[in-house]
Amino acid sequence: MAYCVKCGVKLEAGSTACVLCNTKVLASKEVIGKIEYPLFVKEKAKGKSFYPYFDKTRKGIIELIIAFMVIAEVTLAITAIALQGAFSPWLAMLAVAAGGLYILVGLTVKPNYPKVASYYLIITALLIIGLSFFIKASLWPQIVLLSLAFYWAVGVFPWLLSKGKRFWSFLVVSFAIALFLVLLDALIDNYLSWSLAIALPTYGVIIVSLAFSAIRIRWGKPSMTDIILSIILSSCWGVVAGDFFHLRSIGSEHFLTWGFSPFIVALLLLIILLLTATVRKVRNFFTTRLT
């Protein structure tokens, strides 16, 4: 048996290093000794170590919420049975279930934005579908469901794609907005009125304007002022296009009405941006020649 020179403890026979400090034993085999029956079984564990997702405390909170949910549901059901139809428990039961599920998602799902958001959207959709049965409304639940689907496409889906697939997410988002506008129009008016005549062309103009800005941002070296001006420019084009297509849809003789001022602003901005770009090019041309 050897002693650890650092810790001073006597090591079990056969130990070639100290358990407390990992210091190697530099002694002869005779001193280290041999152990026939060690105190502990030193074989590796049969299975891998296991890390349960929920620790005891979180498990307790989850169980507590489920228990309260079940108790609330049962109490509501019993109350309804006892009052023999004077009280309809379904709405309250639905609210309890949805409320409980909202909390449980936060406690059980890993904190990952697309995952959590998707679950919350599903629960909200189920809640809306449930509510529509009781309230007997048809239009607003459909609009809300459409909006939820739209939010998922615009606000969640792009986060599911990897960074290399940004172009696809841009395409999906652009298409989702167009589809949302068309479907919203179809739901509200039962036929396509403002979406095809005004919304989609306006949206098209904004997309084209933004695409130009995006191209500039991607291939050029834009300053923050350039980016802000590009956004203002796209907004102005959007407003102008909205006014323009609205006037065409009602058969007006005017070219533009309230969209005229933004049109002037847009033109000026466009001129400024073009001039800036040209001046930069010219300056670069001469400075590179000089140096």
């Binding site: 403890v9 090591l11 290093a17 358990v19 079984v41 620790d55 909170i61 489920i66």
Partner: protein, 434 residues
């Protein structure tokens, strides 16, 4: 519940056991191990036969755990008792239904050792020691004459006294006021170190005489001295691990006290209480002598019939409140999980359980080389400490979930070496240098 007739056989959990089943988890196994190291080879066939015989003398251990509408309860387990080869990590989580054929304890053996691992809801260290000693006595065919007056060893032919399987907390319950007092969170070791569920043990063998010499110098008991050593190491580690003094937390060691002698009980089920002993480093640095004074004062101040009676009242009264009693188990379970944190794991830095010096009768002394006692650590208190003595040596066993960090064990054991005590260590850790 299976049948109405089985209600007669139903055994309620004792008052300190009710917290264990709802809070058991992979990293909160509530398992302890008692192990006897022999100098002769173990015959597994003989051990299995003896175990079956001995279990008949301990009918309150021949049970399985079930979940009722209001509480967990025990029912007699008719499945065969099996023994297992000891080839895994000590005090690991075992499935309460499938882990040991429904039994809440496991009998394990190696070529030279017989061990039992017990789920704490069944019994405490003293109850398990009684079972292990009886098992050893039967294995080595000790006669009544050889055993003599050993209170731990029971004979199969003797009638089972009703007091052996009673919930002694109920018997010694006296209603008291001022029941619940909350405490702030204590310092916890190495919360940022890597851990897993493979319990790593370091066993230190120390001469009782040498330890007695040290503790006598300070006029304290061995338990008090060991608790002070742990607190001293925890204080040093808190200073290393916590950068700002204002973030220091109190250091408290939970010391289980076997209260059978105090209340004159022979129950083999749980009948121990915890006393929290500690210091508050926010008040300043404590020298070892000061820690010893605190430990001595706090431990002795708590271990008396009145102080412990108050704890019994707390355990029993909680269960008697109608709101708790008739609340469904599905509600109690999560509450207990949360309460066990606030009133248990969080407020203690670690546990030191010392069974004390165990006297072995007759020829057992010649065949049992040493006894070992291990506690399962948990996610909050990742290192636990247990001690047991026999044949002139005490085994101070550290069990840890930490995969690499042994700084606490090193601090405690080197402190003993520095005070002139010879310490012999063994481990199940795979050491880097080996």
């Amino acid at each position: 519940m299976k049948k109405a007739s089985s209600n007669d056989e139903l055994l309620p959990l004792d008052n300190s056991a009710i917290i264990y089943p709802p809070t058991v988890a992979r990293y909160n196994a509530h398992v302890f191990r008692l192990s006897a190291r022999l100098n002769v080879d173990v015959d597994p066939v003989r051990l299995a036969n003896v175990a079956k015989r001995v279990l008949k003398r301990f009918p309150y251990f021949a049970v399985s755990l079930h979940q009722g509408f209001y509480w967990y309860y025990f029912l007699p387990n008719k499945k065969p008792l099996e023994i297992y080869k000891d080839e895994d990590y000590p005090c690991g989580y075992f499935h309460l239904k499938k882990g040991a054929n429904g039994y809440l304890f496991k009998i394990l053996y190696t070529t030279r050792s017989i061990s039992i691992e017990v789920f704490h809801a069944l019994t405490d260290g003293a109850g398990a020691l009684s079972f292990l000693k009886t098992l050893l006595a039967y294995y080595f065919e000790l006669s009544k004459k050889e055993v003599g007056e050993d209170p731990h060893i029971l004979f199969v032919k003797d009638k089972v006294a009703s007091e052996e399987g009673e919930d002694a907390f109920e018997r010694f319950y006296r209603p008291r006021s001022a029941l619940f007092a909350s405490q702030s969170e204590a310092f916890h070791l190495s919360q940022k170190s890597f851990y897993n569920d493979m319990v790593q043990a370091i066993s230190a063998r120390i001469s009782i005489e040498e330890l007695k010499r040290l503790s006598n110098n300070h006029q304290v008991t061995i338990t008090e001295y060991l608790v002070a050593l742990l607190i001293e190491a925890l204080q040093a580690l808190q200073a290393e691990q916590v950068s700002k003094e204002r973030r220091y937390r109190p250091i408290r060691v939970s010391v289980p006290i076997n209260i059978r002698r105090i209340f004159n009980s022979i129950t083999r089920r749980n009948f121990s209480l915890f006393v929290a002993v500690g210091i508050d480093p926010r008040l300043g640095y404590y020298e070892f002598g000061e820690i010893l004074e605190q430990v001595k004062y706090q431990l002795r101040g708590s271990v008396n019939e009145k102080g412990l009676g108050l704890q019994i009242a707390r355990n029993v009264a909680g269960r008697r409140i109608a709101l708790i009693r008739y609340a469904p188990n599905v509600l109690k379970k999560p509450f207990m999980k949360l309460l066990s944190d606030f009133y248990g794991d969080k407020i203690y830095s670690m546990t030191l359980s010392n069974i004390g010096n165990v006297n072995l009768p007759g020829s057992l002394k010649d065949v049992v080389e040493r006894l070992d006692f291990f506690l399962s650590p948990n996610k909050k208190n990742r290192v636990s400490c247990a001690a047991i003595g026999t044949n002139g040596y005490i085994s101070l066993n550290f069990t840890s979930l930490l995969t690499e960090d042994v700084s606490f064990e090193r601090k405690v054991l080197t402190a003993l070496v520095e005070r002139g005590v010879a310490v012999e260590v063994a481990t199940n850790r795979i050491i880097e240098g080996e």
